[in-house]
């Protein structure tokens, strides 16, 4: 079991989780956060707050954010729900598995994006520390994003 902290990023700032929860792995933590976001959605709407502006930042015990879950992701899952209900059990299970994989893939994308962001930052810093060098031009934006459509 590992302790995970579910910090909540809101429109008003970060609402930290000071207690954390012991869970078997990061995938369980992600799924817990996902279901929690589903539960919080109606409560937030009732309080006239916009769930789209909420994100769970799941951190490990070193304070390192290991997963993020924007509440908007809950909507992806809701699409095609009526179709899923009429499917036989095996197909439903397969589809749930696919959904889960897709969400994990999205989380990996997010991490790659973060890594890329920090790479760009370091590049900017490097450039700033050598101002006399000729400009290298804006960093190119290769179309590297893997397809996420089912």
């Amino acid at each position: 079991m590992t302790r995970y902290y579910f910090h909540l990023r809101t429109a008003q700032g970060l609402s930290p989780d000071e207690l954390g929860l012991d869970l078997p792995d990061v995938e369980t933590a992600y799924l817990e956060a996902f279901t929690t976001a589903q539960e919080m959605w109606p409560d937030l709407l009732r309080r006239r707050e916009d769930p789209i502006r909420y994100t769970f930042e799941i951190a490990d015990r070193f304070g390192q954010v290991v997963q993020t879950l924007p509440f908007a992701e809950v909507l992806d899952r809701a699409r095609g729900r009526t179709a899923r209900q009429s499917l036989p059990r095996a197909a439903r299970t397969a589809q749930e598995l696919a959904d889960r994989t897709r969400h994990l893939a999205a989380a990996v994308d997010e991490q790659v994006r973060q890594a890329r962001e920090s790479l760009r930052l370091s590049r900017d810093l490097l450039r700033a520390s050598a101002p006399d060098q000729p400009s290298l031009g804006p960093p190119s934006e290769p179309n590297w994003m893997p397809g996420r459509d089912p």
Binding site: D17, G20, L21, T35, E39, M40
Partner: protein
Amino acid sequence: MLNPLVRKLENFAWLSDDDRRALETATRQVRAYRPREDVIHEGDQPESVKLLLDGWACRCKQLEDGRRQIMAFFVPGDLCDVRVFILRQMDHSIMTLSPATVATIPRDTMLALMEQHPRITQALWWSTLVDEAVLREWVVNLGQRSADERLAHLLCELFIRLQAVGLTRGNTCELPVTQGELADTLGLTTVHVNRTLQELRRDGLVDLRGKTLTLRDLDGLQRLALFNPNYLHLEHEGEELNANHRRPDAPGGAASPLP
């Protein structure tokens, strides 16, 4: 120590010493349970009534896919269904949540008790009605209240129920329930319960440290939960059934045996 069932029933009516003795005798067959042990399992044939003398238990139902709903908490003095032995098969399980002592009241003892002690019978009716009222309140909780209101409501209820059987100290009580179990009670995830608990703590309402629950502001908690304790019926509503024309704690109130 006063039998917790006597203590509980006396929230309704004052019992005679004879009534009390009969309850003591009926609840002598006891067994100790470990935490999270089934007292009776869904599908079992109920042959007796279970009374929780010490510790905590819950009534729960598990779905095929592992999801679980806790439908009631039992605290000392609570009977797990007064007339359950009438049924052939349990449609849910009763599981301990902490180390617990459970008395078994055999079917015939229970029937004799109700036949010979009309005050006990009425007090047991009251207890059943309160159990049903609690269940109704839980339906309202799950159907209408938001996550923070649900948790606040449950904590108010448990504190007041424990208070009624003398198991609170000032504004603290024991809450030997995991956050996962609270989650299965409130229909929320553990993460949600955890977050909500921290919100209640930040607002200065409650503090849950380990298994110790402290209600920092019971009034505030009740306001948040829209909590009205009327459904617990703790106002000695059967006082006219006073066996000895005395309050049990009044001095010199010697028992006159039942007519």
